[in-house]
Amino acid sequence: MTVDGARLDPSEYDELRQVLRAFFARCQPSEPPAEHTPPLDRGPWLRMARELGVQGLLVPERWGGAGATLAEVGLVFEEAGRALHPFPLLSTIGLATPALLASGNEVAMKRYLPGIADGSRVATLAFVEPAGRWNPGSYDTTAVARADGWQVSGVKDYVLDGGEADLVLVVADSADGQVMLAVDPRQPGVRVIDRPALDRSRSLARVELEAAPATLVAGPGRAPEALRHTVDTALVCLAAEQVGGGERCLEMSVGHARERVQFGRPIGSFQAIKHRCADMLVELESGRALQRAALEQVLHHSPDRHIATAMAKSFCSEMFRHLAAENIQIHGAMGFSWEFEAHRHYKRATAAAVLFGSPLDHRLRLAELLDY
């Protein structure tokens, strides 16, 4: 099925969900990667673009996309999260696409968005530096405008899917203020170093820039707000992924608790397990409610959107990590085993909690925003 133009009718969500679920189920890695995050399998990535139009959901139709909304994208992340997807989705459609759209730069959009939509271009946003501060601020990476174009120098770290990216959007400070630049990682002056990621389902890289040639995407008048908006969008996407992951962990726990018999009865009939599952549902549904509300607020550019995204990310991070931990516990020794799925959710949850700012980071910001 394809999504064309604007927001889907909620009655069509179920169909989209089924299609996505079936697709992601086929893309499950058979073996948990031990040494490094495996390279992206471009085949399924291209099929995802061509058959489902996932990468082009947010891309306007004139640039080869579906012109859909964050609501549909949220659904993609929920399903991707359930399936422990191995794709550069968060980087390409959670960060780079909203950043390009928020830049308002028609030339850049025309140049990069069609390739994102058709699956030929993996893109990411490099804003965090070795200090690991996720909340947008000022950066040590500097950009200089020269007669023959921009040059950017500095070090970006924890760059999502930096090793796979065909396009790296770099946030840097210039003499006139913050700018966002497009960098081709194959150009001289760019060094991309893979980082050993705790969560092997998502690759991280360090990007070293030494007078690397760059193209301006957003100037000082636009870049800070574009970055803020991009981060809000990415927070909603990641929270949706956490909801999907949490949902899967609860599903696995409940399934096991129904089947596993000890002391002559299914362990789910013991209140010690049953009540644990009930509490997991309470957390999951609370997280889902916060994530959906944040999505609506970002979608409608509501004045409280920064509060809503920070609440969603803070809560969903802890929710997913807790549910992934409970899932291991309820499965007993099997939950702790390398061959079993549970530890991969736990690692995903652990990393996702840190990504784009820890729960505490967001709560510290909330304390200011709520004037507590």
Partner: protein, 391 residues
């Protein structure tokens, strides 16, 4: 954040909105007596839109009531604050009367209940039947055209000011458990009904003991069949767990606002305390969103077990919020006004409200089904986990 727009194209929604606008125009809340307003609301079918026409409703989906509450609340009309005096009746007993009772019973009871002329109480729990309601022992024996009731109820909210009660009594033998129960409407002013106050943790008497000594109840006051009591109780308990207050700020927000005020009076900004407050604000937002969703998702008149989720969340949340409030009060938390006997409706705020709410919040995870029972309901009816085998 009120969004009525989602279904603005829906003709039912348009009809409800028009009726509310007419009601507000003809009976401006600012200048209309509360009872008169509520009678007019009932007569326009805006009391419970899901009820039959002429019986306080319009035969429309129940979730439209949320819209009604939102619009009335925005116009300053009497809504939740009024119902709180009769929340059991309006929120829980009325849906059970409509589902299990007869039209003549609807006509006799619904209007006086809705406009507050007749307060209702729910006579369920007994000394030996708390979480396990099916163990109740109060007897109902048919004698001619009357049922004769003998027994004792306990933990009965509002019995001291109720005109009517919905009584659960045993018509079968004790071994029949939930199958041998019946629901009756009883006249609480009958001299054969003895109501004695029970004091709670803060000295107030929200709850009562109720004794029945050969109370005669006309057969016409039986709700449904003589063995239908358990179904009536389920309907009531499912409704109990769903707040009808989708339009109000939400229980959680109110509690949070109280402690935020205390926090802002403090001179320091202790980072640990501050983070606790932010965590509570996040949970409050989640609880209010979920409660709103539960209210919107209601089918015509049979709320599902999802209400148990909201009940469980709110009780934990309120306890956490008031614990924070006490910690924020610091040394002031050593003080308390008066533990003197009083009925809740006579309570005059005395500047120790955080302390009082903190103490009283312990009851939130007990009354209306303990958190443990809620977790059983969620585990078994939402998640489909197997029941505990009976010994």
């Amino acid at each position: 954040m009120a969004t009525v727009s989602t279904a603005a194209s829906d003709p039912d929604m348009r009809r409800v909105v028009t009726l509310v606008e007419e009601l507000l125009r003809e009976f401006p809340p600012a200048t209309t007596d509360t009872t008169e307003f509520l009678k007019a609301q009932f007569d326009r079918g805006l009391a419970w839109v899901q009820f039959p026409a002429g019986r306080g409703g319009l035969g429309l989906p129940r979730n439209l009531q949320v819209t009604v509450q939102e619009l009335l609340s925005a116009a300053g009309a009497p809504t939740m604050d009024h119902y709180l005096g009769n929340a059991l009746g309006v929120g829980m007993i009325a849906p059970a009367l409509v589902r299990h009772g007869r039209p003549d019973q609807w006509d006799a009871y619904l209007r006086p209940m809705f406009c507050g002329e007749e307060i209702w109480c729910q006579l369920f729990s007994e000394p030996a039947a708390g979480s396990d309601l099916s163990a109740l022992r109060t007897r109902a024996v048919l004698d001619g055209d009357d049922w004769v009731i003998n027994g004792q109820k306990i933990w009965t909210t509002a019995a001291h000011r109720a005109g009517r009660g919905l009584l659960m009594a045993r018509t079968g033998d004790l071994e029949s458990r939930h199958r041998g129960l019946a629901a009756f409407v009883v006249d609480m002013r009958d001299p054969r009904v003895d109501v004695r106050p029970l004091r709670q943790i803060d000295g107030s008497a929200h709850l009562n003991e109720v004794y029945f000594d050969d109370l005669r109840v006309p057969a016409a006051d039986l709700i449904g069949a003589p063995d239908e009591g358990w179904q009536v109780a389920i309907t009531i308990m499912m409704n109990e767990r769903v707040s009808i207050g989708g339009g109000s700020a939400g229980e959680g927000s109110q509690a949070l606002a109280e402690v935020v005020e205390v926090w802002r009076r403090r001179e320091d900004r202790d980072p640990v305390m501050r983070d606790r407050l932010v965590q509570l604000a996040i949970k409050t937002r989640a609880a209010d969103l979920l409660n709103r969703k539960a209210a919107r998702d209601l089918a015509v008149d049979n709320p599902g077990p999802e209400g148990s989720l909201a009940k469980l969340i709110y009780s934990q949340l309120k306890q956490g919020v008031y614990e924070f409030g006490m910690d924020a009060l610091d040394s002031e938390a050593l003080l308390f006004g008066s533990y003197a006997f009083h009925h809740p409706e006579d309570h005059v705020p005395d500047g120790f409200e955080i302390q009082r709410h903190y103490l009283f919040a312990r009851g939130d995870s007990i009354g209306g089904g303990t958190s443990e029972v809620m977790r059983n309901v969620i585990g078994e009816r939402v998640l489909g986990l197997p029941k505990e085998p009976r010994p």
